[in-house]
């Protein structure tokens, strides 16, 4: 910084006020940069390794390849080819889609109807039933595993897609009902009163007024449920099992760790395959996701 030789009054105060602020902001910026680097490096290492030549991975750290990125022969996509075909990540990917899409759509539909009833249709037992929903919000999923597994064994639902759809629906319902109730019950009362005067039934009010207005909330909950189902290992292991025909991506990745323990070129490629869809959903819909988080947590 070059200070003026003969500073005039107002300008000097500006410079003096500005320079310490700038100097003080350097450690701030450096620490923010360091945090971002620290948070990104593990994932970056995974990505870089997944496209490196397998022979190089065991002999040198992934970061060394960043110093000479233009040596083309160190990069390869063969790791992805191998895990997708021989290690069955391709089938698992399709299974994950098959498990996830109904497991998101079904609970949200059911929850929306229930939330509307809890919010706007008076009925006997409404208060106590909704209190039970609130109580169920925090009940650990572990409480359900053994009895539901017994039901599934008796009903031949173990290892079936139908079984896992139902399980994810049941487990996802409390949060979906609770968040949708918070949203739907806040809609202005006038809407419902004028609709009732017009002679609209509850079904019509729900379809024509409540659903269109609830799209932001429905979207946020859909993202939650999608991430939860897509990333879930426990429910998939317990109710779908490890069979190659039905296993989903987290199960397949876990089995890959067991069978290919030290083969980091395959593990990293496999891990990235499990991550790519949620990362895309997340990056594209970040605003809706954040809105959902804030609606769910700031309220209370």
């Amino acid at each position: 910084m070059t200070a003026p030789a003969r500073p005039i009054e107002p300008r000097q105060t500006r410079v003096v006020a500005w320079r310490p602020a700038f100097m003080r902001s350097v450690p701030l910026r450096l620490s923010v940069l360091a945090i971002c680097l620290l948070w990104t490096l593990p994932t970056l290492g995974l990505l870089v390794t997944s496209v490196r030549n397998p022979a190089l991975i065991t002999t040198s750290g992934w970061w060394t390849s960043l110093f000479h990125p233009f040596e083309a022969n160190q990069w390869t996509l063969s790791n992805y080819q191998t895990v997708l075909s021989t290690d069955g990540m391709g089938t698992a990917f399709i299974n994950s889609l098959i498990v996830t899409i109904p497991s998101v759509a079904i609970p949200i539909t059911i929850a929306a109807f229930a939330a509307y009833a809890f919010a706007w249709i008076p009925f006997r037992g409404r208060g106590i039933l909704f209190t039970i929903v609130v109580a169920l919000l925090v009940v650990p999923i572990q409480m359900s595993l053994i009895p539901v597994l017994q039901i599934y064994s008796a009903g031949n639902l173990y290892g079936s897609f139908l079984g896992i759809w139902l399980a994810h629906t049941g487990f996802g319902l409390p949060l979906a009902i609770f968040l949708l109730y918070n949203f739907i019950s806040q809609l202005p009362r006038d809407l419902f009163e004028s609709a009732a005067i017009d002679g609209a039934s509850h079904l019509q009010v729900f379809i024509r007024i409540v659903l269109p207005l609830s799209i932001p909330a429905l979207g946020a909950i859909a993202i939650f449920q999608f991430l939860w189902v897509w990333n879930d290992l426990l429910v998939a292991l317990v109710f779908l099992g490890p069979g190659a025909e039905v296993r989903v991506l987290p199960t397949a990745l876990f089995q890959l760790i067991g069978s290919r323990g030290g083969s980091w070129h395959l593990l990293t490629a496999g891990a990235f395959i499990t991550m790519v869809v949620p990362l895309l959903v997340f990056l594209l819909l970040q605003r809706a996701f954040v809105r959902g988080i804030l609606a769910g947590s700031v309220k209370s």
Binding site: T49, S201, P250
Partner: protein
């Protein structure tokens, strides 16, 4: 809002329920396909036969051929039956009910709307929770016993409980603390959105995926060999001996908790960041005028004002860490003195076939969340009373 005007009552009164009932019939058929493990393949085979593709149909019935298409068909049916069926159920039954006299209609309709959810909650949460508690107090012959809980005082289990306590305190505390610090720091830089996205991003990654990512960071090779794990490369670069992070007790517990903190800090940060932006500028200005330093401002003014958000985030993360399963199951299986309740429960059920002990472990988790349940219910009641 003119959109909600009722339609002319004549025909549509009957169209809706009839369409609903036809749809319900289709749904029952779809359900039968879904219940059959090879339903998708068999259905596709029938379609192939109808189209004259006999060899394709035979392949499918033998478990080969276009299995992927069969699976996608199955998923399409599931979506149609699941979502379509639910809608038809609501529309059909709702339509039928609206034909009834108003007195009956008003009594039955709420149960049509909330019924499916209530049934599912009962089957998947309420009944199982009661069953698990009951099972935890019975032996294999259905006799009352306390043995499943008595075993928890043995060293094998006290270590598990201790590890869970460490997870709860360090995992929750670490995520909340870092989330607060990051929210405070990022609030003052220009590229705030980018920095927040980078810290937030791991929240989209599965715990299994995160365990692979960090397993690679923690990777260990014997001394003298090139270290391909970032952490050991740094340790060796600084002149130390490489450490097998995930198999060395007790540091492995903390290494696993780091994975959780890495995932959850973004969540905490986003909530805190929004809360900080909600603190009124006037209060901050007033504190500055009173001569508060930036650190004092943050610790003495902002943090107390967002206390509500901090408590909410802390309880949310505490519940997640309490139930932690995936990270331990994937990284070590809990074999190196790093076991936790949920992982041990899984092994009790599927490896030792001891449902009673598994149920007791689940019940311990349930007891641990009871205070949070109580707080939630109290807040909800208060909110109802205000609204």
């Amino acid at each position: 809002m003119a959109v909600a005007r009722a339609e002319s009552p004549g025909l549509s009164r009957f169209v809706l329920p009839i369409a609903g009932l036809i749809g319900l019939g289709l749904c029952v058929g779809g359900l039968l396909v879904l219940l059959d493990p090879d339903g998708g393949a068999n259905l596709l085979a029938s379609i192939y036969e109808a189209l004259g593709n006999i060899s394709g149909a035979t392949d499918l019935r033998n478990g080969s051929g276009d299995q992927v298409i069969a699976k996608i068909l199955l998923a399409a049916i599931a979506l149609a039956v699941g979502v379509g069926g639910i809608w038809l159920l609501f529309l059909g039954v709702g339509g039928l009910v609206s034909l009834l006299q108003p007195k009956w209609r008003d009594r039955i309709l709420p149960w049509v709307f909330a019924g499916p959810a209530l049934v599912l909650l009962a089957v998947f949460l309420v009944y199982p929770a009661a069953g698990t508690i009951y099972r935890s107090f019975t032996d294999n012959h259905g006799q009352f016993t306390l043995a499943n809980f008595a075993v928890m005082v043995e060293p094998e289990f006290t270590q598990i409980l201790r590890n869970n306590a460490i997870w709860l305190i360090v995992g929750t505390g670490g995520s909340v603390l870092l989330g607060l610090i990051f929210a405070g720091l990022f609030d003052r830089v220009r590229r705030e959105a980018l920095a927040k996205t980078l810290v937030f991003l791991p929240l989209a990654i599965s715990l299994v995926g995160a365990s692979v990512i960090w397993g690679f960071v923690y990777a260990w090779q014997p001394a003298g060999q090139p270290q391909i794990g970032l952490l050991n490369a740094i340790v060796v670069g600084l002149g130390g001996e490489p450490i097998p992070w995930l198999t060395t007790s007790p540091i492995n517990v903390f290494c696993e908790i780091v994975i959780m903190i890495w995932l959850q800090t973004g969540f905490a940060m986003v909530v805190f960041s929004a809360a900080i932006k909600g603190v009124s500028g006037e209060i901050i200005e007033a504190a500055r005028l009173d001569g508060a330093s930036e650190r004092q401002l943050f610790l003495r003014v902002i943090v107390p004002m967002i206390r509500g958000s901090i408590i909410t985030v802390a309880t949310t993360i505490a519940i997640v860490t309490l139930k932690i399963f995936d990270i331990v199951y994937v990284t070590t299986g809990g074999r190196f003195n790093d076991d936790v309740v949920a992982n041990r429960m899984f092994h009790e059920i599927f490896q030792f076939f001891d449902d009673g002990r598994g149920a007791a472990l689940a019940t311990l988790l349930f007891i641990a969340v009871l205070p949070v349940m109580y707080i939630n219910l109290r807040n909800f009641k208060r909110q109802q009373a205000e609204g």
